[in-house]
Symmetry: C2
Subunit: 465 residues, 2 copies
């Protein structure tokens, strides 16, 4: 418990209403969207309305060695915003202004707490386009998206959040405020701090503002669904589309377990005996989209697609994507606990990855549905379990570790888009080695010598040196 | 002078031929392509053939606190590879193997010493495309391009080198070897080291290998030249093209001083009374290129272009680009010393930037031609002088500083693509402030506590704390 005098210092900075101290309020910020982690109640929750306020809060925390947990909407799946002992949660949702849309330079400048969909809507009204599109786009904040380097369905063609972060304003662990990058397409003045802070998960500073790159909104798009009796056919289709120089915006896969769950849940007429479904969308100008869609349909059929549905209008397009949208909730309703992983492999290794996950499911007698962003190799093996069943959860943890080993053995990575947080921190040396992890720790503690910013996330609980 | 016993240790690691000790050899590595800097002769030059050799060399340097200057072809313009006292130049040009072109995953994996054009040629043979295209592409190495985050003519549409670096192998200042990133499009496992090392100018480690992203080779391209009597017309054209949602590959500008120099030098029929020329290229599939080219021609004319030449074939395309290719050499031959800057502004501020540079030229009675990548705001004000004339060089230095202030005042950056090196290190706080520069220093010395890797570059000569 903080002393009242300390709490008053925060109230002086932030105003009475922006400092939460009630048990109920603190409890609401003791967890995030990550299942299977013990919640820890923070000492205080503050809701700053300006960079200056963030800076003042961090200065006090630094002085008193209080831990800071920066947080947006708390939608992350890696335990990235779960508090630690002696911590203040700094919630940025009140810093929610879109500061400028610059149509000449194709940039938008925003405060960290803006909901990402609000950015999409604001720029689309001017026929511009902010491509990163995580599943939580309607609720998650841009600051959280940058901190976790959120991905989404458009990664194959358009990349991920970091590819759109041109400039950042950051409150350092000392409370000092720095700016790096900006509105120029080219900038090599010093190390690339906008990229370093993208995906830094709140461990190196608090992102308070960002300048983001925009693209012209594509003229049109076209969606397809292809149904395969054999997994190999679907896999070969993915490779063949790329080899034929078509880069779809979105190229999603659903395996049989996922198809069956969705059908049982949503009853939308999916073929439950199919081995895999591919969902594909191409975008661009009319002529290109027509040409690419035709190519894709042809490639699907050449590789044994039993059926290819091409959406003729927006309504049909919506229907095609219904299946994908329903995947997570359909899988999620089968059991009380849904563990959604995002181990990622080079796209050519997707068939081996899916087969390997199926073997792991069999070995540990678990129900695992796999769906996700096949085009960029970012699959979501989804383990269905019950966290109250200790014995089952032990099998889950073993399976998760084997999924990571499988992905790394296939030249992949622990996490494509969900982040490391505390959930995956203990696996870091598997990918980076002791020396690689030490390099990250060196960077972390050089900027945050007291280790007060989002402790234990990314780099684990190891001390400074 | 190193003791013979120490030199022998290097010879044991690298072989006799890969350790250069003669005065002539050492002298050749005492400078790079940067004018107006005092050369410092290194103690030794080594040419490793493998990552292991680089690692062993760095281990000895670390043990003995000898400075290491990593170097590719030495084409940089920021003094990025000029030695310091007590240093070994590590030349990576013998590590020149293209290790793998992966057509399924659209990646190429290379050693650091491969010449960038060799990568272009190898991947284009498979109808793939590595977009970064610095002016030195035919001689510079990919390791150098990554270390400086080289830009080039295609930045507007395709970005810069860092946008294509998916994975790196790095020898740390301790000699330890780490790998980060890889072949997956999405990777959020730890801080983004591939981006941090892109543009780190050899100060945080030696990049020995990289995995680079490739794109499908565009089907076709089309080039245009538009001649303007008024600078404002050219400037308005640039903005209007982007506003009309055309993103050219290349959108270059040459101002009157440059036009006149090129014409005097090359005699290719340029209109010497024109205020500015724009050179524009669009690429993509046939239909898009046709549509975009028509749009661009129309926009040029609407904004007062006196004439627009559209290349009808490869020969005419070559002719159009002749003027741009000749710009630097034409300006360069007018005076003994060419100071090529790359201060960069948001593209909407280009007219103000060009006008401002002209005023500075007048104020200091200097000849400054401006050309460059108007589409991405990366201009090259080129000051023509004689470094033997001390009084003139004083004016040059004052003008350079004012050009930086001008760019920063227009929301720009000190360097768009040439890097900071030692040439611009003293101006860093102008852009990043003391706190921003300190953050870079903290990162630098966390990874390189003895400060042996390319000392004084980027962060200046300030000590660790």
């Amino acid at each position: 418990m903080f002393k009242q005098s300390l709490i008053n210092r925060f109230k002086d900075i932030l105003g009475e209403d922006n400092v939460l101290t009630s048990k109920e309020d603190l409890l609401s910020y003791s967890f995030d969207s990550t299942p299977d982690f013990e919640s820890i109640v923070p000492e205080l929750v503050v809701m700053p309305e300006s960079t200056e306020q963030v800076s003042e809060v961090v200065k006090i925390a630094n002085e008193k060695e209080i831990n800071i947990i920066p947080r947006g909407a708390g939608t992350n799946l890696c335990g990235g915003t779960i508090p630690v002992e002696n911590s203040i949660v700094v919630v940025l949702t009140k810093m929610n202004k879109i500061l400028e849309i610059d149509e000449e330079n194709l940039t938008v400048t925003v405060e960290a707490g803006v909901i990402t969909q609000a950015i999409n809507e604001a720029v689309e009204a001017r026929e511009l386009f902010f491509p990163p599109d995580p599943g939580t786009v309607a609720v998650s904040t841009i600051g959280g998206n940058i901190a976790e380097c959120a991905g989404g369905l458009r990664g194959l063609k358009y990349g991920v959040t970091k590819d759109y972060v041109m400039g950042v304003e950051v409150v350092l662990p000392t409370g000092k405020v720095i700016n790096a990058g900006g509105k120029t397409v080219k900038n090599v003045t010093g190390y690339d701090l906008p990229s370093l802070y993208s995906g830094s998960e709140g461990t190196l500073g608090i992102i308070t503002q960002a300048t983001l790159k925009l693209l012209p909104l594509p003229d049109t798009k076209k969606s397809m669904m292809a149904i395969f009796d054999k997994l190999d056919g679907a896999a070969e289709t993915i490779s063949s589309i790329i080899r034929n120089k078509v880069i779809p915006v979105t190229l999603e896969i659903m395996d049989q377990v996922t198809i069956q769950s969705v059908e049982e849940f949503a009853n939308i007429g999916l073929p439950t005996e199919a081995a895999a479904i591919l969902l594909i969308e191409v975008d661009g100008i009319e002529e290109v989209v027509e040409r690419d869609a035709k190519k894709v349909v042809k490639i699907c059929k050449e590789n044994g697609a039993r059926e290819v549905k091409l959406a003729k209008n927006e309504e049909e397009r919506f229907e095609i994507w219904e299946a994908r949208r329903a995947s997570l909730s359909a899988l999620g309703r089968m059991r009380p606990t849904t563990i959604l992983e995002d181990a990622t492999v080079p796209r050519s290794n997707i068939p081996d990855m899916i087969r390997g996950v199926n073997k792991i499911a069999e070995k540990y007698d678990l129900h695992i549905g796999t769906f996700g962003h096949a085009g960029d190799g970012n699959l979501h093996p989804t383990i269905l379990a019950d966290e109250r069943n200790e014995e089952e959860m032990k099998r889950v943890h073993k399976a998760v570790e084997e999924i990571f080993d499988l992905a790394l053995g296939l030249d992949g990575t622990l996490s494509g888009e969900h982040g490391i947080g505390i959930a995956k921190a203990k696996y870091m040396t598997k990918e980076l080695g002791e020396d690689g992890l030490q390099a990250l720790r060196d960077i972390k503690f050089s900027l945050d010598p007291k280790g007060i910013l989002n402790p234990h996330k990314v780099i684990g609980a190891g001390d400074n040196e």
